[in-house]
């Protein structure tokens, strides 16, 4: 389903644009977003889902989060940990967050700079989604890539044709990043 051009994740300037948009508006939406994010965080903490976790980034900006996904068992990503970044727009949850893989990942729907093709992060986004659901969707995307509209064509091919090579490529690509 992904077209690199109009994918919201594909536009590098989108984060900036969102921030600017937020700044122009009154403070109210950003505060609402912060409140909502606090609540989401509370939910994440009180009822954590296995294999995923998220937290605001260390720079103290509530609109910028870091998340961790553990590769699901029975997938080529099993035993690997992936770091992601979430940038929430100031009108969140009415616009989706910008999500990137910070850990290099070899996946049909993720390109080499970590951009993700996932419908709920784009046109299918609704305010009913939250960080946890996004993380769980991404976790399941690891096991069930959408090979009909890949960002990484090679990976999409190998997924079906040569799982062993796919796994090797996954392991070769994966590299634990040390946080700053």
């Amino acid at each position: 389903m992904s077209h690199m051009e109009d994918s919201q994740n594909a536009a590098p300037g989108s984060v900036q644009a969102n921030k600017l948009g937020g700044a122009k508006k009154s403070v109210e939406p950003a505060q609402n977003a912060a409140k909502r994010l606090q609540t989401e965080l509370m939910q994440l903490m009180t009822s954590p889902a296995p294999g995923v976790s998220a937290f605001p980034s260390a720079d103290g900006n509530l609109l910028s989060w870091r998340a961790t996904i553990e590769g699901p068992a029975d997938t080529p990503y099993s035993g690997l940990t992936f770091k992601l970044s979430f940038e929430f727009p100031s009108n969140y949850p009415y616009s989706p967050p910008t999500v990137l893989f910070r850990t290099p990942i070899y996946h049909p729907n993720v390109d080499f700079s970590g951009r993700i093709c996932l419908d709920i992060l784009k046109d299918k986004w609704t305010a009913a989604y939250n960080t946890q659901t996004v993380l769980l969707s991404l976790q399941s995307l690891l096991g069930e890539p959408n090979n009909t509209s890949p960002l990484n064509g090679e990976a999409a091919e190998l997924w079906d044709k040569d799982p062993a090579l796919f796994k090797t490529k996954v392991l070769a690509r994966h590299k634990d990043i040390e946080d700053d």
Binding site: T39, S57, G60, W65, T68
Partner: protein, 1061 residues
């Protein structure tokens, strides 16, 4: 020497050259030699003229020519060859030609005059010289003097005036010659100004003799005493300084008499010569004035530092007495006189004496020339210091009239009607002091030293106003410094605010006030040593004080931010405010009584130790309070001020007014004034002081406040069964402020309690009479238990039915109640379900109260306690026919009651502290094993407890104590009248929940945000990210993290924390 052109010109030219070279130290002897030299050198030139002899002295030109000729003829042959140095030829003049001193001139004068040759020019010159010597010898100053006695003698002699009345004819003749040399002695080529000579002689005499004497005066009297004067150990130094000043004055007076004597001689000579022509009199006067001026300049310029210091010391002392400022060095007259400055009465003899002494002294100083510019500066400095001292001394810490005596004097002041004086008693008395004492003294002193006694007044009415405004400024500065104390002492300090209001009129002063006050706040209030209660109490005082000072609240708004910021860090601030609002009448009354007692005690202490006041004002809040009373102030545990305010009808009216009509300007307000200049952009004029409103808004968001309020109200509703008037009133107030919706929870809570009371009676009635059925709308309910056993042995059991959704902090704590209670619960449940079908009760066993009656061997103990405690003690009840005393360990109780062991331990500790249970170290157990038995006898309970190795475990009674063998019957009663809220258990449950939650946050943070973080970073992140506010302080967090590190779940790397993998 072949001069052909005007020899006279040449001669005068040469003379001018000489004069210009030697002017500074030229004197008679030198003039003599000079004359000779001049004559000598001009002889050659004169020869070419030749001619005239025997002319009369009528033509000046001719006479001068003749003079030249005479010179040539008369002395020509005796003259040395040209170029010969004159001092070789005239041995008598050699010694004096270079160094001219009065002594030498005297020696010269003592020499017999040269033979007179009246008919020649040379003789004229000689006659002039001789006359000069006579005159100078007559007025010459004494050659040497080592003490002022020598002046005294001479002065006495000169003062007799005999010689002045009848000056010797020799002197007069000589004087006439000297003055009128040009007419009487036409042959004289060189004349000198006798007055200038006198002045020079005076100068050198002064420098050589008087100055050393003056230095001697200063050294003798003060010596090494300077330091003691400066350190304030004044002792007798006033006398010493006075001696210095007086001996200096005497020395100078003597010297001046001497100098003036010479001048007078000269002047009398002048007047005799001129026969009293008006011009001459005028000239003489001019001469006199000029001479005196010169002498005064000389004196004042040569006055030493030491002398001026002494003058200052004497001035300080005398002026201090006159102005009513007691100096430290002056032992006050008896105990009755306080050390505070106060305007002295007009009939105070000491003051009158001091004033006379001072004026006399000033007059003397003026006479000897010490009252010059330096004295002016000195006097100004002293008066300046006096004003500061008076203001700080008289008004520091005194907020009403310092001294009523001065009021009578205040009536006849000129400035009595100036707007400056406003209505403040302090300002009135200060203005009075400035006018009647300060300005008066200034006037008198300045009039004494005024050079022109008939000129303008030294102190005008305008000056008086200036003085008063300066004094007001000082008072303002003082009050600004004291503002914190003023706020603390509110409302007794109200007059001080009047001072401030009258004086703080400019934006700059307002700015200074707020800045200074903020600084004081930081120093004295906003530090960990002050409890939140104290801070809030002070805050209330500040609100009221500053409101009284400035109704516009702008000052307050400038001071508030730091206070609010600090209060945000105090987590208990909201709770203190809420419980203060809810304080009962009883508490208010008690607090009032305590306060009153404290105030009286305070006042007594203040009366006793008046002098300490200034010092204690410097201390911080706690210090000053305890130092003043000499005792710790009574512990006030609630912010009852708020409750008082709440009950104060004027406040309520204000509040309603503020809330109803704050939209627009009141056009009928006749007291309207423009907004202050330093008001902010969004400034809105407040209506009243509105303490409660200000306080609530200072505590941050409405949500926080309402949440805390609900919690406190819930606790109180669960605890006190009395009426809820106070709660309702506060609720009403808050509703007006925050709106109905925000406080709906509290409404429901109150309604719940009221309803359950009704229900309770209904259920009991139904149980006794049969059943009544009522159907009400269904709601999820939870119930709180209260139980009570009736006399007949039946348990009395009451419940409160709470709407779960609306009550905050209803955590369930699981444990097994005693069977009797469970049965009661079932009965109650049934009764309830009969009344309200379709609804179910969920019991919250840990909330509520129980009244327990324990029948022990020798006594009966009745205790109000929590259900948890009641349950634990019930477990010690002996089975019917059981064997031996009951002994239980925590583990056993844990199994039996299924209760959290923390709660069990707490309950056991409670009972041990009540003397009902005894703690024993288990014989075979591990270190931390204890078992408990019932202390059946009071003796057993009171037996000395043995301190344990682990103090945290509390006292252990003597090992081996045999508890009585009888059965202990623990009856669990629950009474409505008990006052203890069952908060402990639920808080601990909440706390555990919280720890769990924070641990998850910390894990999430270290997993995602950053793998290693410092404590501060973590605290910051938690504050930001925890939705309902991070409740811990950094210390608590550190402790928590320490536990996690100890539990091997975290590790510390380079001072930062990370998760253990």
């Amino acid at each position: 020497m072949s001069a052909v052109v005007g020899p006279r010109w040449r001669r005068t030219h040469r003379r001018r050259v000489f004069q210009s070279v030697f002017q500074t130290d030229i004197d008679i002897s030198q003039i003599t030699s000079l004359q000779v030299t001049t004559a000598n050198s001009s002889t050659g030139a004169n020869q070419s003229f030749g001619g005239h002899t025997g002319s009369l002295f009528d033509d000046p030109l001719l006479s001068s020519k003749q003079q030249r000729r005479h010179t040539r003829h008369g002395r020509g042959h005796t003259l040395p060859p040209m170029g010969e140095r004159p001092d070789v030829y005239h041995p008598t003049t050699t010694s004096s030609s270079r160094h001219s001193t009065p002594e030498q001139s005297l020696q010269m004068a003592a020499q017999p005059p040269l033979p007179s040759l009246p008919t020649t020019a040379a003789n004229d010159q000689e006659a002039y010289d001789r006359a000069w010597h006579v005159v100078t010898a007559h007025i010459a100053l004494p050659s040497s003097a080592t003490a002022d006695d020598s002046f005294g003698n001479l002065a006495a002699e000169s003062q007799q005036g005999s010689r002045r009345l009848e000056p010797s004819s020799e002197f007069l003749d000589a004087f006439a010659l000297v003055i009128n040399a040009s007419t009487l002695l036409p042959g004289v080529t060189q004349t000198r100004d006798i007055v200038a000579w006198h002045l020079r002689q005076v100068r050198s005499h002064f420098a050589q003799h008087v100055v050393p004497l003056l230095a001697g005066c200063v050294d003798d009297a003060v010596g090494g005493d300077d330091s003691s004067w400066q350190t304030g150990r004044r002792g007798n130094s006033y006398e010493k300084h006075m001696v210095t000043v007086m001996s200096s004055i005497r020395t100078l007076e003597a010297a001046l008499r001497l100098y003036i004597y010479g001048l007078d001689e000269l002047l009398s000579g002048f007047s005799r010569l001129s026969d009293g022509s008006p011009q001459a009199v005028k000239d003489a006067e001019l001469l006199n004035t000029r001479f005196r001026r010169d002498i005064h300049a000389l004196v004042s310029n040569s006055a030493s530092e030491g002398l001026m210091r002494s003058v200052k010391a004497v001035l300080v002392c005398l002026a201090g007495t006159v102005l009513g400022i007691p100096s430290l060095r002056e032992p006050s007259v008896g105990k009755a006189q306080t050390a505070r400055p106060a305007p002295p009465g007009h009939d105070d003899l000491r003051v009158v004496a001091a004033r006379e002494r001072l004026l006399e002294l000033v007059q003397q100083l003026h006479n000897v020339g010490l009252a010059g510019e330096r004295f002016h500066v000195l006097f100004a400095e002293v008066m300046d210091a006096m004003m500061s001292e008076f203001v700080t001394g008289a008004y520091a810490g005194v907020w009403s009239v310092p001294d009523t005596r001065s009021f009578s004097a205040a009536m006849d002041t000129i400035s009595g009607t100036t707007p400056l004086s406003a209505s403040s008693p302090c300002i009135r008395s200060l203005n009075d002091w400035v006018e009647n004492h300060f300005a008066q003294l200034s006037f008198q002193v300045l009039a004494c030293i005024s050079p022109d006694p008939h000129g303008a007044l030294p102190v005008s009415l305008g000056d008086l106003k200036t003085f008063q405004s300066i004094a007001l400024g000082r008072l303002a500065a003082l009050r600004i410094d004291e503002l914190f104390d003023i706020a603390l002492a509110w409302p007794a300090s109200r007059p001080a605010l009047e001072d401030l209001r009258a004086s703080v009129t400019t934006a700059a002063r307002r700015r200074h006030l707020t800045d200074s006050f903020s600084r004081t706040l930081q120093r004295r209030l906003l530090h960990p040593g002050c409890s939140t209660l104290e801070i809030l109490q002070t805050y209330i005082s500040i609100i009221r004080t500053l409101h009284a000072l400035d109704h516009s609240k702008v000052l307050l708004s400038h001071v508030e931010p730091s206070l609010q910021l600090y209060l945000c860090q105090r987590e208990d601030a909201v709770r203190v405010v809420v419980s203060g609002l809810l304080a009962s009448h009883e508490e208010v009354r008690n607090a009032r009584k305590v306060k009153e007692a404290w105030r009286l005690q305070n006042e007594k202490a203040r009366r006793d130790g008046e002098g300490d006041k200034l010092d204690s004002a410097q201390g911080d809040l706690n210090h000053s309070a305890s130092r003043e009373t000499g005792a710790v102030p009574p512990r006030i545990t609630k912010l009852v001020e708020l409750a008082m305010l709440l009950n104060d009808p004027s406040q309520t009216r204000h509040n309603t007014a503020a809330l109803t009509a704050d939209e627009d300007l009141d056009w009928n307000d006749m007291n309207w004034v423009p907004d202050p200049v330093d008001a902010g952009a969004n400034y809105k004029r407040p209506r009243s002081e509105d303490v409660i409103g200000t306080l609530i808004s200072a505590l941050g968001s409405q949500d926080v406040f309402i949440k805390e309020f609900s919690a406190v109200v819930a606790e109180r509703l669960l605890g006190e069964p009395a009426s809820f008037d106070q709660e309702l009133r506060v609720l009403e107030l808050l509703k007006r402020r925050f709106g109905e919706a925000a406080l709906q929870n509290c409404d429901v809570m109150i309604k719940d309690v009221q309803d359950s009371r009704r229900l309770d009676t209904a259920i009991w009635r139904a149980r006794s009479t049969g059943q009544t059925r009522q159907v009400l709308s269904s709601e999820m309910l939870e119930t709180i238990v209260t139980a009570k056993e009736e006399e007949g042995g039946d348990l009395e059991y009451h419940a409160r039915i709470l709407s779960r959704l609306f009550w905050p902090g209803l955590e369930r704590e699981h444990f097994l109640l005693p069977q009797v209670i469970v049965e009661q619960q079932k009965l109650y449940e049934k009764g309830y379900e009969d009344l309200k079908s379709g609804r179910k009760l969920t019991w919250l066993n840990h909330l509520g109260q129980a009244r327990v009656e324990l029948e022990l061997t020798d006594r009966t103990v009745t205790v109000d306690c929590t259900p948890v405690e009641a349950t634990v003690i019930y477990a010690f009840q002996e089975d019917e026919g059981g064997a031996g005393p009951v002994r239980k360990t925590v583990e056993e109780l844990y199994g039996e009651l299924q209760m959290d062991d923390d709660l069990i331990t707490a309950a056991l500790r409670f009972w041990v502290s009540r003397g009902v249970l005894l703690q024993h170290r288990a014989v075979a157990g591990s270190q931390h094993q204890y078992y408990y038995t019932v202390a059946e006898t009071a003796a057993a309970a009171n037996s000395p407890s043995v301190p344990t190795n682990n103090p945290a475990d509390g006292p252990v009674s003597a090992a081996g104590t045999e508890a009585g063998g009888e059965a202990a019957l623990a009856n669990i009663n629950a009474g409505g009248s008990s006052g203890v809220g069952g908060g402990g258990a639920s808080i601990s449950a909440k706390e555990r929940e919280r720890r769990e939650m924070y641990w998850r946050y910390i894990q999430g943070m270290l997993t995602n945000a950053s793998p290693v973080m410092s404590l501060g970073q973590m605290a910051m992140m938690l504050k930001m990210s925890v939705a309902d506010g991070f409740q811990w302080s950094n210390e608590e967090l550190q402790e928590f993290l320490g536990e996690k590190v100890a539990a091997d779940q975290m590790e510390v790397v380079g001072g930062k924390y990370k998760l253990k993998k």
